[in-house]
């Protein structure tokens, strides 16, 4: 398996050979920032295209077909349209917060995005409380959404933002509980370590019953946290026009839109990393020939394959289930997911204590 840190080490030694240490580190930070933003934009474009195609397929349609082969240029056309549209300033809105809100949302999303381990040695933020940091960073997004709803001076926006706040804060609990279940199994929060420990079997198989329950809870709660699927009532088109981003236009709306899709990818990427082994190939203990063949497939192919598979499952949810009411959403969270998550955590502790996992 190719270790990407060889490349980064080589770049670092090259830069330090003719630059002072501080300048070299600064240049590396800028370069990595640019890479993350580029990757972010590319993932967003792929996700929007995938959303339209998958949605079409679930509704027995073909989706965009006209612009470019199989409609592949359609998303670029949409992005270009979004970029050249005017950003309208709303009268009687809180100008500062109104303009700040989309950047808070996108900031939270990019911070969470840079935690994902894409391949062996290809992690940007990787330290011993990685999952904790990811949960903390991704929950900043709700502040941006609340600000957007408040500062727009529009009741639809405000209702949408309030619903979104209630929903995201509630479901944060279930996501954390299901991640905690796996942390009990791994006894580490560092993403690279978590992936390394799945070399002899992914946690979904190693942790069997509690890991599977945690996986399902994570998918449901994650879907709710990115305001998608059956939980899209913060932006319920039919009742709240577009929810918290009703008053936004141009690229400010585009930032919300892009952040929503990349957040979905982040949820899927974290699910792939924690439960499905991240960039770790499928290893079956005992079958050494099979394992070496699997090792020839590069790590990022595994990671993106798994992540987009989880994205596909989440889109399957979205285009199958009807939207829930706010009371149903809170009932599902507080009466079902949280108690089940807590019991599941207990079950996982018992399994780890008595060494019943694989």
């Amino acid at each position: 398996m190719f270790d990407f840190s060889i490349v980064t080490q080589w770049i670092h030694s090259l830069l330090t050979s003719f630059l002072p240490e501080e300048v070299a580190v600064f240049i590396e930070c800028v370069a990595i920032g640019v890479c993350i933003l580029l990757g972010y934009a590319i993932i967003a474009i792929i996700m929007i295209f995938m959303e339209r195609k998958v949605c079409a397929a679930f509704q027995c349609r073909l989706g965009p077909m006209r612009v470019g082969p199989w409609g592949t240029i359609q998303v670029f056309a949409d992005v270009f349209k979004m970029l050249i549209k005017e950003i309208i300033a709303i009268r009687h809105s809180d100008k500062f917060l109104y303009n700040l809100a989309p950047y808070i949302v996108i900031l939270a999303s990019i911070l969470a995005f840079s935690c994902l381990p894409f391949s062996k040695g290809m992690e940007v933020l990787d330290f011993n409380v990685g999952i904790f940091f990811l949960m903390a960073a991704s929950s900043i997004g709700v502040v941006g959404i609340l600000l957007a709803g408040w500062s727009s001076n529009n009741k639809y926006s405000l209702i949408g933002a309030m619903r979104s706040g209630a929903q995201m804060i509630s479901y944060e609990l279930s996501t954390s509980l299901s991640l905690l279940t796996i942390i009990v199994l791994t006894d580490t929060m560092q993403f690279s370590e978590i992936v390394e420990r799945q070399a002899d079997g992914w946690f979904l198989f190693k942790g069997h019953i509690p890991a599977f329950i945690a996986f399902v809870i994570y998918l449901i709660a994650g879907n709710a946290e990115v305001n998608r699927g059956p939980f899209d009532l913060p932006e319920a088109e039919s009742e709240l026009t577009a929810g918290y981003h009703t008053e936004y236009s141009g690229m400010h709306f585009g930032l919300f839109y892009v952040a929503e899709f990349v957040n979905l990818f982040i949820i899927a990427g974290v699910a792939a990393t924690i439960f499905l082994g991240g960039w770790m190939p499928l290893h079956i203990p005992g079958l050494d020939g099979f394992n070496t063949i699997m090792d020839y497939i590069p790590g990022f192919v595994w990671f993106f394959g798994k992540a987009f598979f989880v994205v596909w499952i989440l889109m399957w949810f979205k285009w199958t289930f009807p939207r829930l009411r706010i009371d149903q959403i809170l009932t599902l969270e507080w009466k079902y997911l949280v108690p089940i998550g807590l019991l599941n955590l207990l079950l996982m502790v018992i399994i780890v204590v008595f060494d019943l996992h694989f």
């Binding site: 079409a56 679930f58 509704q59 027995c60 349609r61 949810f317 289930f321 079902y336």
Partner: protein
Amino acid sequence: MKERRSYLGGLLHGINTLLTGMKVTGREFFTPKVTEQYPENRATLEISPRFRGRLTMPVDAEGNNKCIACGLCQMACPNDTIHITSETILDESTGKKKKVLVKYEYDLGACMFCQLCVNACPHHAIEFSTEFENAVFDRNTLVQTLNKK
């Protein structure tokens, strides 16, 4: 009447119904898609047989239509789209008077495709074809004579 379920019963029932829904959409994901790529696939275009394109009067092998000039379609039409000109002739074989169709005029420009005329016809003499490319350059050409003889 909604039956009350226990906590676990309701949970299992909910999971079951969700899986049923996912099975339906999962099957839909892999079925061939119904979208028609219209201008490109003109040759192979498939239109649902119940589509109402324009009114036609089918003829049999000898070129005879089934119209008896009763005028029910003309009366059923809400837009006065249909105009029937008929004459009364003496039928030699039976020696009785008989009404026959002279001209069946149909104004496509006024038609709203409600299909009331087809439903009113007692002899299935008229029907809607699936032909839908009705655009013409002169609106006078929209007034068509359906009986060819």
